[in-house]
């Protein structure tokens, strides 16, 4: 394992400190916790938004704390959802009297730990709601199982629900905005290499030079299927067609797209995927209204990428384009 770290145990704690050093105008660390909260809190009477989960997905989630997105981000150990007391500390930091929306990716651990935190908040009279993100269409949705998991599309929920909260929408309305994002969104990813969890010290899986994993999550989990290595064009097409089908997109539909690096895949390769995407979208008559290309929700130093499509209506488009000022995502006034 080759990583720029000191000890496996201190990785997350040190990185949280480093985030505050890098972004003092944006972030403060709630003392004694793994919570990053806005350095300049939102006005009183606005809905707060908290997200979080295991670490190793940077810039998620601390990178999205700031105007127009999150109020607080809770970090667990690498790929391990945070404990309820930490989530609860995040809720308290984000509460400005109008309740707190929790944006939770659908993993058993996240769901349970955030649920227990809500029970704690309940006891304190802080109203909370949850938007459960389950955009990964690689996984079959089913009532009898854990269902689909949440991956990079989560950032669209942060952005759009975040804009609604800044507008002054109440907790129920902000939740509804977030739920609508989830209902109109689909994602799928693939890996060319595994990542190495620091505490584990070796790659989670091994892939031959001519193999890739389709339908991976964001924790170095194996994917749904191991397939022969594809060209940029093939893999982009495979994912795009799959997402278009899942969302039943039709000619004239407007979408936002996220081309997300899993970590090691450089911007050069993302740009090649993006060029193909444009061609496929044009061919299908689908309007690519906004492209988010880069590292949004990573899996440590895994090579690979994920694609997210979000169906836009007028309001979602406006909120997606609204001013945001966070360490990792900034949208300027135009």
């Amino acid at each position: 394992m080759k990583k720029i770290i000191d000890t496996v145990e201190t990785v997350v704690d040190q990185a949280l400190d480093g985030m505050v050093v890098a972004y003092p105008e944006y972030l403060m660390r709630v003392p004694g916790t793994s919570v990053l909260a806005r350095a300049v809190p939102k006005e009183d009477g606005r809905v707060g938004i908290v997200s979080g989960g295991g670490s190793g997905h940077e810039p998620a989630h601390g990178g999205y704390v700031g105007y127009g997105m999150l109020d607080a981000a809770v970090a667990g150990e690498v790929f391990t959802s945070p404990t309820p007391d930490q989530v609860y500390a995040g809720i308290k930091a984000a509460d400005h009297g109008a309740g707190v929306l929790l944006v939770v990716k659908n993993y058993t651990g996240d769901v349970m730990n955030f649920d227990i935190a809500r029970e704690l908040a309940d006891g304190d009279g802080i109203a909370t709601e949850v938007v459960l993100v389950n955009d990964d269409v690689a996984v079959q949705d089913s009532l009898y199982t854990t269902g689909r998991r949440g991956i990079a599309g989560t950032v669209f929920v942060h952005k759009i629900a975040g804009a609604a909260a800044e507008e002054g929408a109440d907790l129920g309305a902000v939740k509804a905005v977030g739920d609508a994002v989830v209902a109109n969104m689909a994602s799928m990813g693939f890996a060319l290499t595994s990542c190495t969890v620091p505490a584990n010290g070796k790659p989670t899986f091994e892939l031959a030079d001519n193999e890739m994993e389709l339908g991976i999550g964001i924790h170095g989990e194996p994917g749904i299927e191991r397939v022969p290595m594809m060209s940029a064009r093939e893999v982009t097409n495979t994912l795009f067609q799959r997402l278009v089908g899942e969302l039943s997109l039709a000619r004239g539909d407007r979408v936002a797209v996220m081309v997300n690096s899993m970590g090691a895949t450089p911007a050069l390769e993302l740009a090649i995927m993006t060029a193909h995407l444009n061609e496929f979208a044009q061919h299908a008559g689908i309007v690519l209204e906004r492209v988010f290309m880069g590292e949004f929700m990573t899996s440590l130093e895994m090579a690979g990428a994920s694609l997210t499509l979000l169906r836009l209506d007028g309001q979602r488009a406006t909120r997606l384009g609204a001013v945001a000022d966070t360490p990792a995502l900034r949208i300027m006034q135009r």
């Binding site: 404990t83 996984v139 969890v197 505490a199 584990n200 999550g217 924790h219």
Partner: protein, 204 residues
């Protein structure tokens, strides 16, 4: 069971987890995210410290301390499950320096119910439930039959864990793999079997 045996149980469990940490991470790497051993080890190290730092009082207080510590340090699915189930376990125990095996097994039943409530998993879903549900059943049966309940604890727990090898996961992150989860032992069932191994060692 007296308080010192109860503490011994957690020290032994912590030692077993430490010894099997890499194995548990490997099991989790195959069908999950490679952290189950690290998660449990982080939590149990703190449990041992916390018990050490806390004066003896009651088994129930110890159990609550264990639950709070696991809840606050393990994280992930197992943290929430072990944490909330241990709190229910504590609440179900009589507040006394020593508890009968019947009391202990009744509290274990509360533990399992808490797991079921939190995690919605049942036997066959390829989780820690595949060890805890049948094992607590066995203990209850043994107790009704008046037999010393812990005779077969070690080997049986291990067997139940091994049975998850053939299962398709329905809960937890292994469920995302569907059929691909077959052919691997569930890491949470393995660590649960280690708990029963520790229990067997302090048992009557």
């Amino acid at each position: 069971m007296d308080e010192s045996s109860f503490r011994q149980l957690w020290r032994s469990f912590a030692t077993l987890i430490r010894e099997h940490k890499d194995e548990l991470n490997e099991l989790d790497a195959a069908i999950g995210d490679a952290d189950h051993g690290s998660n449990m080890d982080r939590g149990l190290t703190k449990v041992v410290d916390a018990l050490e730092a806390s004066p003896e009082g009651s088994l129930r207080a110890d159990a609550k301390l264990v639950g709070m510590t696991l809840m606050g340090t393990v994280g992930g699915a197992s943290g929430a499950l072990w944490g909330s189930a241990m709190l229910k376990f504590a609440a179900a125990l009589p507040d006394a320096p020593t508890v009968s095996w019947a009391d202990f097994v009744a509290a274990l039943d509360a533990f399992v119910q808490a797991l079921a409530q939190r995690g919605k998993a049942t036997v066959g879903d390829k989780t820690m439930m595949d060890v805890f549900i049948p094992m607590v059943d066995e203990l209850q049966t043994a107790l009704t039959a008046g037999e010393p309940p812990f005779d077969t604890v070690r080997s049986h727990a291990r067997e139940y864990s091994e049975r998850t090898y053939d299962m398709v996961a329905k809960r937890g992150r292994a469920a995302y793999l569907g059929e691909r989860s077959v052919g691997h032992v569930d890491p949470g069932s393995r660590s649960s079997a280690l708990w029963f191994e520790a229990l067997g060692a302090v048992g009557p």
